[in-house]
């Protein structure tokens, strides 16, 4: 399987993502934001970081960069796109995903491990996954997901909520909501479920001795689903 990770000025999880994808068997290529063509890919990843220094709004400048039109065309033709953290913010800024990531409710940069309950039905990202509660890592200042009531209803009606912040035993409640996100939303899909944006970083949880391995479960499962 071929993957591509897009690098923007200010991306800082691009190499972690490259390591993770290669570890689980993807043939990964790094793509510079100023290129206009994507290499042949089964998966495009928009990595975490602070593209363009988070100027104007997080992800807004990257959302207008040269490579983005190819990413939008790839996504609209059904290609798999994964946006992590700043990548999720970029996806909302391009309009590929609904809503917006606002500043965290407590006005603090949050960097810690959290648990998410993932939606394992009708999508290539989590289908067939062994665990439905994953321990992942978050590190963000703007992760507070917000959308209009109509958009929320349509996300719920179409089964587009990909992950909820929850407790270690899978309870979705206010106590386990780190950033004030509406309905504890940590990630969403587009309607066709070929685009996933989420704040938590699976690429930071791929080594037992450094972190945990719930990210490994995510990547192994994704690769199996793509084969």
């Amino acid at each position: 399987m071929n993957s591509s990770v897009i690098i923007f000025p200010g991306s800082n999880c691009d190499r972690d993502m490259d390591v993770a994808l290669k570890k689980f068997g993807f043939k990964n290529k790094m793509v510079w934001h100023d290129d206009d063509k994507l290499p042949k890919s089964d998966l495009i990843v928009l990595p975490g970081g602070f593209s363009y220094g988070d100027y104007l709004r997080c992800g807004s400048i990257a959302g207008k960069s040269k490579i983005i039109q190819s990413v939008i065309d790839f996504a609209n033709s059904g290609g798999l796109v994964l946006g992590i953290c700043n990548g999720f913010q970029i996806l909302t800024e391009t309009g590929l995903l609904k809503g917006v990531l606002q500043q965290n409710k407590n006005i603090e940069f949050i960097c810690k491990n959290i648990f998410v309950k993932v939606n394992n039905s009708e999508n290539k990202f989590f289908e067939n996954i062994d665990k439905d509660v994953l321990e992942l890592h978050i590190a963000h200042n703007e992760g507070n997901y917000f959308c209009t009531e109509d958009e929320l209803k349509s996300l719920e009606d179409n089964n587009q909520i990909a992950a909820y912040y929850c407790s270690s035993d899978g309870k979705v409640d206010d106590k386990s909501n780190p950033n004030g996100a509406i309905k504890n939303i940590a990630g969403i899909f587009n309607k066709k479920k070929n685009i996933l944006g989420m704040m938590p970083h699976p690429e930071r949880m791929i080594d037992q001795s450094l972190s945990g391995e719930d990210g490994s479960i995510f990547f192994e499962n994704l690769l199996m689903n793509l084969k």
């Binding site: 104007l56 709004r57 807004s60 809503g99 917006v100 606002q102 409710k105 507070n144 917000f146 959308c147």
Partner: protein, 77 residues
């Protein structure tokens, strides 16, 4: 000509920075400050002499980049 744009959060959208500023002002003794909403201000120099045309392009600029209309409103002044 020069165009000025103000982008603000829509009413009802949480503004944690505005809230923190309000609480700080209250703490400093400005007890009469009931609410603060923080926004962004842009000075844009458009190479255009016709005010109407300049404002039209400013509106497009706001819609396409400066404001995220899910949570923000803009005002061209």
């Amino acid at each position: 000509m020069k165009i000025k744009v103000i982008v603000t959060l829509k009413s009802g959208v949480l503004d944690p920075q505005g809230k923190a500023i309000q609480q700080t002002l209250n703490g400093m003794g400005f007890a009469n400050v009931k609410d603060v909403r923080q926004g962004k201000y842009f000075d844009i120099d458009v190479d255009e002499n016709d005010e109407q045309k300049a404002k039209l392009s400013a509106e497009e600029i706001c819609k396409k980049l400066l404001a995220n209309q899910v949570i923000e409103d803009f005002k061209i002044i």
